[in-house]
């Protein structure tokens, strides 16, 4: 029996992953450019934080709500517009589930690259097209609503790192929710639950500081908060920056990575490799 030579099995993770994503994002950006109307819509589609901004500014017109002023609400929701628009969770959840349901997962599984990378690359490519829209909408919204972004370099560092790590952690959660399709075939229900959870746990409906009792403290220790709400809270002065935020987010990433690997192994054993 012929076996593969040891040198064939060598891997170069950091370089490999970087070149892989560069190539895949490039291809997916080309693919996304095919559908121009879809591109325009995707730039304008996610403006939900602006709706909640209007709501909470009105509520804070006569004074702070839960200690948050109208200016802070403006800053918070304008920055939330940035972080939530850059989240990859929804495309990852639904694309991943669709790949299993449609049978297209088989074509990806015979490649020497985890299928989730393809899905993430597609989501990143879509976000690249959203950036120019955000670069216009967010400053305009800040000016019109009286928001004010401030913060020390340390606060900015914590905000950026927390968002990045939180985004990675939420991608793991999204991939796990998508992988439910290996068991349930049509897993949109479970996937929808995760999307709904992000609205509350990510502070999209309201800053988590407004949650009752100990809930506001608890919710500040989970991935959706790091991904969506940590940076807006820190840069609007609602929360104080701390390296603990970054450390906790990093622990979540490691834990979810290990959990995802275990789930993926089970998912592959469960896979029936059939289409719709």
């Amino acid at each position: 029996m012929t076996t593969i030579a040891p040198e064939d099995a060598q891997v170069r993770p950091p370089v490999r992953i970087a070149s892989l994503y560069a190539g895949m994002v490039r291809a997916e950006m080309q693919a996304a450019s095919t559908y121009r109307a879809q591109l325009v819509l995707s730039v304008l589609a996610w403006v939900v934080p602006l709706a909640f901004l209007t709501l909470w500014r009105s509520a804070a017109a006569d004074g702070p709500v839960g200690g948050i002023t109208a200016t802070q609400f403006s800053t918070y929701f304008c920055l939330l517009l940035v972080t939530t628009n850059l989240q990859l969770s929804m495309p990852v959840i639904f694309d991943f589930g669709w790949l299993v349901y449609s049978g297209q997962m088989s074509a990806l599984l015979v490649r020497p690259c985890h299928p989730v990378h393809q899905v993430i690359a597609r989501a990143i490519a879509e976000k690249v097209y959203v950036l120019p829209g955000l670069a216009i909408i967010v400053p305009v919204a800040l000016v019109l609503t009286g928001g004010s972004v401030s913060g020390t370099p340390f606060a900015w560092l914590v905000a950026v790192l927390a968002t990045l790590l939180g985004t990675v952690a939420v991608v793991y959660l999204a991939a796990m929710a998508g992988a439910v399709a290996f068991w349930m075939t049509k897993a949109q229900g479970v996937q929808g639950l995760l999307v709904g959870a992000e609205w509350v746990l990510g502070g999209i409906v309201a800053p988590v500081a407004l949650l009752p009792g100990v809930w506001s403290d608890i919710v500040r220790h989970q991935p959706f908060w790091y991904a969506d709400a940590a940076a807006p809270e820190i840069l609007s002065g609602i929360s104080a920056p701390s390296l603990w935020i970054v450390a906790e987010a990093a622990v979540w990433v490691v834990a979810l990575h290990l959990l995802y690997r275990a789930l993926w192994r089970r998912a592959l054993r469960k896979y029936d490799a059939v289409g719709t």
Binding site: M1, T2, T3, I4, D8, A9, V11, R16, S19, L20, A22, G23, M24, A27, Q30, A31, T34, Y35, G103, Q104, S106, A107, L109, V110, R111, P112, C113, L268, R269, Y271, D272, A273, G275
Partner: protein, 337 residues
């Protein structure tokens, strides 16, 4: 043709080893109609179905194994187990010394899988860009990739197609592009699942010639499933038939044809209708139309039957031949394990 000096040394060496492979699926059953559907919401019945049972075989480098069987016989399940898409319920599959179900990247870099109904090319970008994406995913050296790509594109006459997105290509055009994509990384093991399904005659010939030359040049081990016997006859050194999940025949195409050797077909051209009774006395009447009679007879009696037919009035010509391969296969398909 594609250079692959390291692979040529693999000719005659087993690259795929399948041992007592069994794959079961759990399927859900329910009564028909709305009532059955509603009951199934509350209580669901599942049962285990064995798609492949105790299948064992090896495939050496430089050979093409034809896997034949009716729809649902277990051909594609076997291929998917070899590719690592399915985990065996029992038994083992080893490809290039590794277990495909564990999806080791080192193995996937040496594996090419053309699935007749599943596309690996990105539908929305030009085919040439899909090839480039393939280079990135397989981490191929650029110069080597370009050389291989250009050779394969020339062989499959793709030059005019590669600037279009694959979703805009016809089935035959797209399949030719899929072949290039599946072989760009010069796999040592190639799995072809109905690769010529739905293709016109020219495209079938092109692909057969392409596969034959690829195997000659690279020493790859190939498993081919196809409903077109012409694919099998043109390419396969070994043939395996599978029925109800079990192997019913393994051998060369010649051996397969020899299985029909105990019977002969006698064809007579007639100028007037022959009495049915007289024909049935000579052998089994396979076909009787105005102008033609086909009889199936034991080999030992073939000469005598030819002689008897020649004596009959109204017979203008008599010829002797083997039954079609399809009928031998049909008999094999009907065999129960």
């Amino acid at each position: 043709m594609v250079d692959a000096p390291t692979d040529q040394g693999r000719c005659g060496v087993p690259l795929i080893d399948v041992d007592a492979l069994t794959r079961e699926f759990s399927i859900t059953e329910r009564d028909s109609g709305l009532g059955g559907a509603l009951r199934s919401v509350v209580r669901r019945h599942t049962k285990s179905v064995t798609a492949v049972r105790d299948v064992s075989f090896t495939v050496e480098g430089g050979t093409v194994l034809g896997l034949l069987g009716p729809n649902g016989s277990g051909k594609t399940t076997t291929l998917k187990c070899v590719a690592g898409l399915l985990t065996p319920t029992r038994g083992s599959v080893t490809v290039l010394g590794l277990m495909p179900s564990e999806r080791p990247a080192a193995l996937l870099r040496r594996l090419g899988f053309v699935m007749g109904q599943r596309w690996q090319l990105h539908p929305d970008i030009p085919v040439l860009e899909s090839f480039e994406l393939h280079r990135v995913v397989y981490d191929l050296d650029r110069d080597e990739f370009l050389r291989t790509r250009d050779e394969l594109m020339t062989l499959l006459e793709l030059d005019d197609l590669v600037s279009q997105p694959s979703r805009k290509l016809s089935l035959g055009q797209r399949m030719r592009c899929e072949f290039v994509a599946a072989l760009l990384h010069r796999p040592s093991v190639v799995l072809l699942d109905e690769p010529t399904l739905g293709l016109d005659f020219d495209a079938q010939l092109l692909i057969r010639e392409f596969v034959r030359r690829y195997v000659e040049a690279t020493g790859a081990a190939v498993i081919l499933t196809s409903h077109y016997l012409a694919d099998i006859e043109a390419l396969c050194d070994q043939v395996m038939t599978i029925s109800h999940g079990s192997i019913t025949f393994r051998g060369s195409l010649t051996e397969l044809k020899d299985m029909a050797g105990d019977r002969k077909r006698v064809t007579a051209r007639t100028t007037e209708p022959l009495p049915r009774d007289a024909l049935e006395a000579l052998g089994h009447v396979v076909e009787q139309t105005p102008g033609t009679v086909v009889l199936e007879v034991p080999r030992s009696r073939a000469g005598a039957v030819v002689g008897s037919l020649e004596l009959l009035d109204g017979v203008s010509d008599v010829s002797l031949g083997d039954p079609p391969l399809e009928e031998t296969l049909r008999d094999l398909y009907r065999l129960s394990p």
